[in-house]
Point group: C2
Chain length 248, copies 2
DNA sequence: CGAGTATTTGACGAAGCTCAATACCTGTGG
DNA sequence: CCACAGGTATTGAGCTTCGTCAAATACTCG
C-alpha cells in the first residue's frame, strides 16, 4: 500500500484514533502537503507576528510553543510530538500570537491554507477531525493553566512527565516505562515557569523519591502510580483512546 | 427586521466581527437554538464528567470555566461574557473535562449537537466562524497560562482587568472607562491562582497607584496606559477588531 | 585537553501563603 | 427598627516556596 509510506502518515495515524478515514481522505491529506523541510534544533519553525500562508505538520522531532515576556523570559505553553499539527490554528488566526521553536532537528510538512480551505469546504469529515485536533489542543492549554496555577513545583513536574509519557506512548515511542525527552532543565523550567535552579531541585526530589530516573535525555518512570498521585494527573484531557498504562 | 430581536443576536453580533453573515445564515443560527433557560448565579451551567447533547450560548450574565483540584481548590481557566459560546468545544469533546459556573444569573441558549453537525456539514461559512471562535478561545487559554506563569500578582491582575475591559467594550458594556465586574475577591483569586488575602493586597496596590478604582462591583480604569504597561498587555490574542482604547 | 554547555550546590532574599482577628455590608426575622 | 447571620473585605504576623546570585562540578564534542 502506497499510503503506508505517505508523508502525512504521522497525522493520518493520529486522526485514525478519533474516527475512520477513507482511503480517499488519506489521499487528500497526503496531497495537501506542498513541501517538506528540515528545521534544525534551536531555530524557530514559526515566528510570532508573522502571517503564514500555510500550516505546519510535525513529521519528526520535537517542538514547543512559546512567548517571550517584556523582561525577555520565555514561557512555553505547549510541547509538540510527531503527528501534531503545530499551528493548524493559524489557518484562521493571523497573525501568530506566539512562536514555535524546534527543540530538536525537525522534519515538518507544509499545508497551504488554500488547500485547508478547500478541505474545509468539501470534506466535512476531515474538517471535523481537524477541528477536533484544535479542540484537544485547547483542552491541553486549560490543563497547562491548571498545572501552572494550582500545583506545587514538584507536582507540576510529575504532571508534565505523565503527560509526555502518554503522548509518547500514543506514537509508539516508549519502552518499558522509559522515553526520550528533548528537554534540558532550562527548557523544562520555561514550561513550568520556575527558575532553572528550582527546577533542578524538584527533578532531584522525584529522583530521590525513586519515582523516576532521568539520565541524559531519557526519563524512566519507576513508579507510575505514585507519579500520577503526585501530579494529580487525570489523562482525560489528552483524549487518548488506547493506552497500556491508563484505563480510559 | 425580525432578526434584530432574534435570540441568537449576541452571537450573531459577535460573529459579524469576523466575517459577513447572510440573512440565511443568521436565520440558521437563530433556528439552531432549541431552548432558552435561566441559571441562577452560583450554580453550574455544565458539569465536569457529563456528556451534553447540546452546546450552550451565553445570552446574558457572566460565567466561568473551572476545575477543582484534589485539595478542593478551584482554578478558573476562563471568564465568559454575553455572546460567548461557552462550551462549543463539547460538540466534539466529550465528556467535559471541566465545569462552567454561572457567576451571575444567566440566560443561556441550548444548541443541540445534531443541529451543529448539520450546520457543520452544510454551512462551511458558518462552520468556519464557529471554529474560529474555539481557536480564539485557545489563544485566550495560552494567554491565561502566560499570565499565571510569567507575571507577578499585581501584573497579572492588571492584565486581567485590561482583558475584561476590552471584552466588555466589544459588547458595549463599558462607560467612561468603567465596567461592571461580577467577581468577588475570592473568585478573582481563583482566576489568578492566589490566596484571597494576597489578591486583596494587589487590588489595593493598583488602587494605591491610582490606576483603577474598584467600588462594589464596578471597576473604573483611571490610567489605561499604565495598566497596560503594568500588565504587559498585548490585546492581539483577543482578536478584537474595533476598539476605542487600542489600535488594532 | 579545552571550551562551551548543562547540572548541581549553597546562602540569602522576595513573593506569596496561612492563620487569626477585625471590620463591613446586606438581607432576614423578630 | 434593630439584632443577627453569613458572606466579603481588610489587616497583621510568621512561615513556605521559590527566586537570585554565585560558584563548582560534570558532560560533550572538537
Amino acid at each position: 500500500m502506497a499510503s503506508a509510506t505517505s508523508t502525512a502518515r504521522p497525522l493520518i495515524t493520529k486522526l485514525q484514533n478519533y474516527g475512520p478515514l477513507s482511503s480517499e481522505e488519506e489521499q487528500i491529506l497526503d496531497g495537501a502537503i506542498s513541501s517538506v523541510r528540515e528545521v534544525e534544533g534551536g531555530s524557530d519553525i514559526v515566528l510570532e507576528g508573522t502571517s503564514p500562508e500555510h500550516s505546519t505538520l510535525l513529521l519528526s522531532g520535537f517542538s514547543a510553543r512559546y512567548n517571550i515576556s517584556m523582561e525577555g523570559t520565555r514561557q512555553i505553553t505547549a510541547l509538540h510530538v510527531p503527528g501534531d499539527f503545530v499551528d493548524l490554528h493559524c489557518y484562521l488566526l493571523k497573525p501568530m500570537d506566539h512562536s514555535i521553536i524546534a527543540l530538536t532537528t525537525c522534519r515538518v510538512a507544509m499545508v497551504p491554507h488554500d488547500v485547508l480551505g478547500h478541505i474545509f469546504d468539501t470534506q466535512p469529515g476531515l474538517a471535523r477531525l481537524l477541528w477536533l485536533q484544535t479542540l484537544i489542543d485547547g483542552g491541553a492549554h486549560r490543563n497547562w493553566s491548571i498545572g501552572l496555577g494550582s500545583l506545587l513545583a514538584h507536582q507540576h513536574l510529575a504532571h508534565l512527565i505523565c503527560e509526555m509519557y502518554l503522548r509518547m506512548e500514543q506514537i509508539g515511542r516508549t519502552e518499558n516505562g522509559s522515553f526520550h525527552v528533548p528537554l534540558t532543565q532550562v527548557l523544562l523550567s520555561q514550561c513550568l515557569a520556575l527558575s532553572s535552579v528550582h527546577t533542578n531541585r524538584v527533578v532531584q526530589m522525584l529522583r530521590g523519591e525513586k519515582v523516576i530516573r532521568w539520565e541524559r535525555d531519557v526519563i524512566t518512570i519507576t513508579d507510575w502510580d505514585r507519579l500520577v498521585e503526585i501530579g494529580e494527573f487525570d489523562p482525560l484531557y489528552l483524549r487518548i483512546l488506547r493506552s497500556k498504562v491508563v484505563a480510559v
